[in-house]
Each structure stands twice: as C-alpha cells, then as structure tokens.
C-alpha cells in the first residue's frame, strides 16, 4: 500500500512543476513575442485600480494600483475556454476525436519522467531507469498519435493534411534526433540521465587532468562533438514539438489551423497545454543532456560542491526551472525570427542535412573515443580535426553541385516560363538571354 502511495506522490512530483507554469509560459510567450515584434502584448488583465473616494475601500488602499502585468490573462482565457459551449462537428469519429487531445496530454505529462531535478535522488527522477534517454525518445515519438488522430477524426481535409504532415515530420526528425543522442551516449557511456549529468559535472574538460581544464566541467556542449549534436538535437526538438519554423501541421495560411481546425473549447485548450508542456520539458531535457542538468555553472570547485550538497534539493529544481525558462525563451525567439519552412525544405533539412551531419558526427565521436583510448589524447584530437575537415569538404562539394543546378528548378516556374515564351516572342528572347543568370 505504501508503495502505491509513494508512486502516486512521485507522479505528482513529476506533473506539478510541468503543469503549474503553463499559464505563466503562455503569458511569457505572448509578452516576449510582442516585445520582439514592437508591440505591447497582454499587460492589463489583473490590474486593479481602487477608487479614490468610495467608502467601500479601506483608507490604505484608496487610489492605489495593483499591477500584475497581465499575468492573469491566461487564467482568464482558460476560464473562457472551459465555460464556452462545446461544439463537436457531426460525422466525426467521436471516440478518436475525444481521445486525441488526451494522448497529446499524456505524452507531455510523461515525457519528463526520467529527468533528474536535483542531486538528491530520493524524489526525482520519478523513474531512475537505466534506459532514461531511450524512454525520452520513445515517449516523444508517441506524440505523433495525438496529432494524427485529431486530424483523421475531424473529418476535414485540412485537418487530415495537418495530421499527415505531423506524422511525416515526426518520423523524419526522430532519426536525426536519435543519432545525435547516440554520440552523447557513446561519450558518457550510459543511457541513464543521472549518469549523463554526473559524468558531465565530475570529469574535467575534455578529460584533461591539468590546470585550466580541471576547473571547468565537461559539459557536452563544450566539446565539438557535443556541440554539433546539441545543435542537431535542438533543431529536431523544435520539429518534434511542432513549433515555428516547423509548425507545418498547423500552418495557418495553408490549412486554416491544421490538425486542430475542428477543435474548440476544452479540447483545443488541452492541445495547447500539451504543446507548451512539451516545449518546457524538451528544453529541460536539452539542458540535462548537453548543459549539465541541475548544476548551475560548468565550474568544478569544492566550495560550489559543498553549497550544492547543503541546499541541492532547493538549488537543483530552481536551476532546472531557470534553464527550462531559458530554453522556452529561445523557442519563442526562434518563433519570432524564422519564417515557416516550405514542406520540401523541411524534408530536405531533415533528411539531407541533419541526418548526414549527425551520422558523420557519430562516426567522428566513435573514432575519437577509439583513438583517445588507444593512441592517447593528442592523436584523438587530431582525428577529430581531420574528421570535421572531411565532413566540411563533403558538405562543400555537395553544396557546389547544388548551385550548378538551375536556380528555379521547380515545375511550376518552368510551366510559367514556357507559357510566357509561347505567348510572346520578345519575352522569350529576354528569357533566353537571362537563362544562365
């Protein structure tokens, strides 16, 4: 019985820090986005100005203002969404229509189960299994089902296209994600997330045991292999959570609202909550794998270790929340910066750039580990340099080939050009003259 209660307690420990900040996350996204776009954003909801001459107000409050910077906006939105009339279109697949948002929510809730929040392992991670990283991959790959089923069950062609795009996108980017994580697993020698964090903090930079290197912790992002796979993982992370510039499943200017076109009220809110929670958890996962997890600084000193041992149970979760918030801000920053990719650009980026890059990175990591163990440090780094040089040369060669092709190599433009040529000989002459440009 006690075990069951403990399990419930741990589940709540997982859900609360993810579910609690969702209103704040939504507010922060709207505010930050509007600052970046030179707007003001929601800044009024929750402000109270007390009357100066009413008798109902106690004297110390008269004429006072309470400012909440619009923090209650998402609460107000939530209340509105949950009290609205629930509209379900007829001729939908009812069961799947209802289940789909819950699948999305389930994925976001369970995604962070193996992420450690502090050095104190009594509470987190909820499940300290020795396959923690694979668990993250497995659960994030289930995320496609919520979107696909929503798109399928809505009985709407735009929704269906959105769902199809979601599944294709997830499958494509999952590969690069898995391969980029494989090189991290090879470097740290474990799939356990707590082991990965400890390995990052407890070894000196690049495993070199002399003066400046022993002071800095070996965070994965600081090594070249880890840096490359960190970038790849970050891009795949954006794609997995369907955030801009990868929000093709809900592309507003093509598909109305994509997979959730037919959703309204609570069910739509569930999708939104799932998306924001997944963003938050994914940024915490990124920081756990590449930037030292619950440790604040990449510094190895006994003084800091002592502090962490004293107040680790407080400092760790705080650090994780801070890092999660920072990751979210980067998410929003990317949203404000990059335009949405076209579908073929999305596929090209996933299959022709990220996947080869992460596979090459995996090979370099493997040869670095081998050379480091057998021939020593210097040879190992030489191998890394040669490996990246080869990777760069291959990339440049393939890139040059692409530039030799015709600039507008799409069928529609060819059709336009040929039809114009057919209609007027003068334009045809100009087109012939400018062909090579």
């Amino acid at each position: 019985m006690q075990d069951v209660l403990a399990a419930f307690g741990r589940a709540i420990l997982l859900i609360l820090p993810i579910f609690g900040p969702v209103p704040v996350i939504i507010w922060w996204e709207r505010r930050l986005l509007s600052w970046m776009q030179d707007r003001i954003g929601p800044n009024r909801t929750g402000n109270i100005t007390f009357s100066r001459n009413s008798r109902m107000i106690p004297s110390f409050l008269k004429g006072k203002k309470i400012k909440l910077f619009g923090l209650l906006q998402s609460i107000a939105d939530g209340i509105k969404l949950f009290l609205k009339e629930d509209i379900m279109p007829s001729k939908t697949d009812k069961l799947l229509f209802i289940v789909a948002p819950f699948i999305a929510l389930f994925v976001s809730f369970t995604l962070g189960a193996t992420v450690p929040f502090s050095g104190d392992l009594r509470f987190t991670p909820v499940a300290d299994v020795n396959i923690g990283l694979l668990y993250v991959l497995a659960i994030s790959s289930l995320g496609a089902y919520g979107l696909v089923l929503a798109g399928y069950s809505s009985n709407n062609k735009y929704s269906l296209i959105g769902g199809l795009r979601a599944s294709a996108q997830l499958i494509s980017y999952e590969l690069a994600m898995g391969v980029s994580l494989a090189s991290i697993v090879m470097m740290s020698g474990s799939l356990k997330l707590t082991d990965i964090v400890n390995q990052q903090q407890n070894t000196p930079l690049y495993n070199l045991n002399f003066a400046p290197f022993t002071l800095i912790a070996n965070w994965n992002i600081l090594s070249p292999m880890g840096f490359v796979s960190g970038i790849v993982f970050f891009i795949c992370m954006l794609a997995e959570t369907n955030r801009p510039p990868f929000d093709l499943p809900e592309a507003e200017n093509e598909l109305v609202a994509g997979y959730h076109t037919e959703y309204s009220t609570k069910r739509w809110a569930l999708f939104m909550m799932a998306e924001y929670m997944a963003m938050f958890v994914f940024s915490m996962i990124w920081f756990t794998i590449f930037m030292g997890g619950y440790h604040l600084l990449p510094v190895r000193s006994e003084f800091l270790d002592g502090i962490e041992q004293k107040v680790g149970f407080l400092l760790g979760p705080l650090t994780m929340m801070l890092k999660g918030a920072f990751g979210l801000s980067v998410y929003i920053w990317v949203r404000a910066t990059f335009p949405r990719l076209r579908y073929d650009q999305l596929m090209n980026l996933g299959w022709k750039f990220l996947l080869p890059l992460s596979v090459g990175n995996l090979m370099i990591t493997a040869s670095w580990i081998f050379a480091n163990r057998v021939y020593g440090n210097a040879v190992g780094w030489g191998v890394v340099c040669i490996g990246y040089a080869i990777l760069g040369i291959v990339w440049l060669r393939t890139r040059r080939k692409k530039q030799d092709e015709k600039q507008f190599g799409s069928r529609s433009i060819d059709m336009v050009v040929s039809s114009v040529r057919f209609s007027s000989p003068e334009i045809a002459a100009v087109a012939d003259a400018t062909e090579g440009l």
Partner: protein, 172 residues
C-alpha cells in the same frame, strides 16, 4: 499448491488482458484505422509487459521501434490510401479461411507446448542474461551474435535499396 497473489501479478495480468483484447480488436474491427490503433495499443502494452518482467531494454525498444516508428508509418499509409467505406473491404468466403484456421491452431499448439510445461513447474529458471541492462544487451549483440546481427542489418539494407529501385522503375 495455491498461488500467492502479489501486486506485480495483478498488474501483469491486467496488462496481459489488455494486450490480448487489443489483439482481438486488430482482427475484429472493420475500420482499418481502428485496427491499426488496436495494434498500436497492443505494442505499447507489450512494452509494459516487458517492463513488469524487468527487461526494460527490450520493452523500451518495443515502444520506440514498433509503437513510435513502424505504426506511425502504418497509420500514415492507411490515411494516405484512404480506404473508403468498410463494406468494400469485407472478404468473401474462400479457401483461405480453413487454411488460416489450421495454421492458427498449429501455431497455438507450438506456442503452448513451450509455455504449458513452464506453468506445470513450480519454480522458474532465472534469466541467463540480465536483459534489462543495455550494456549486457549490447555486449551479447556485438560479441556472440555479431554475425546474425550484421546479416540482418545487411538484409534490411538490401530490402530498402530494392524497394527504392522498384518504386523508381515504376515512376519512370
């Protein structure tokens, strides 16, 4: 001898029952998407069955490969084909059914010949390899089973290249 009922056994039984129900659902539903979803659920619960047997590595591989990748592709293809109304899919009675029943019974006998003796015995043998540990799985795969492992990977590669070749030929 009465079997003592533990919490693990209850959980295992519930998961196994859910998996069996989902497996029945795969063949019982007329709607192709529903069948595929039942298969998804079946694979997902199978992963949890592995977890309850303390072979986490196998369970998570099950979820990653089957639930997360292969079944997403299945559903993608089913939606892309747009199979239409289900009465078109209803098959007529022909020689396949009795043959299928025969093979089904044969498979059941084969499987139960392995399982039933295990039930008859009171104590079960401990695992030879602790398969929950990813290190052990990797070590066995890359030492004692390295040839079959590489052979299977080569076979899969040939399959991929062949399918692309066939698709390209049909296009041009």
């Amino acid at each position: 001898m009465p079997v003592k009922l533990t919490l693990e056994m209850v959980i295992f039984a519930a998961l196994a029952g859910a998996a069996a129900l989902a497996a029945v659902g795969v063949v019982a539903f007329r709607n192709a998407t529903r069948s595929a979803l039942c298969l998804v659920f079946n694979f997902f619960v199978l992963g949890f069955l592995y977890f309850s047997l303390q072979v986490e590595m196998l369970g998570i591989t099950q979820v990653v490969v089957y639930t997360g990748a292969i079944m997403v592709l299945f559903i993608f293809v089913i939606m892309l084909l747009n199979l239409g109304s289900s009465h078109l899919l209803a098959e007529k009675f022909d020689g396949k059914k009795p043959v299928g029943i025969f093979f089904g019974i044969a498979l059941a006998v084969l499987l139960s010949s392995q399982i039933v003796p295990m039930f008859a015995r009171t104590e079960s043998k401990p695992l030879v390899y602790p398969l929950g540990d990813s290190k052990v799985v990797g070590q066995t795969l890359f030492t004692s089973y390295v040839f079959p492992f590489e052979a299977v990977s080569f076979l899969l590669l040939v399959g991929i290249v062949g399918s692309i070749l066939l698709a390209k030929r049909r296009m041009s």
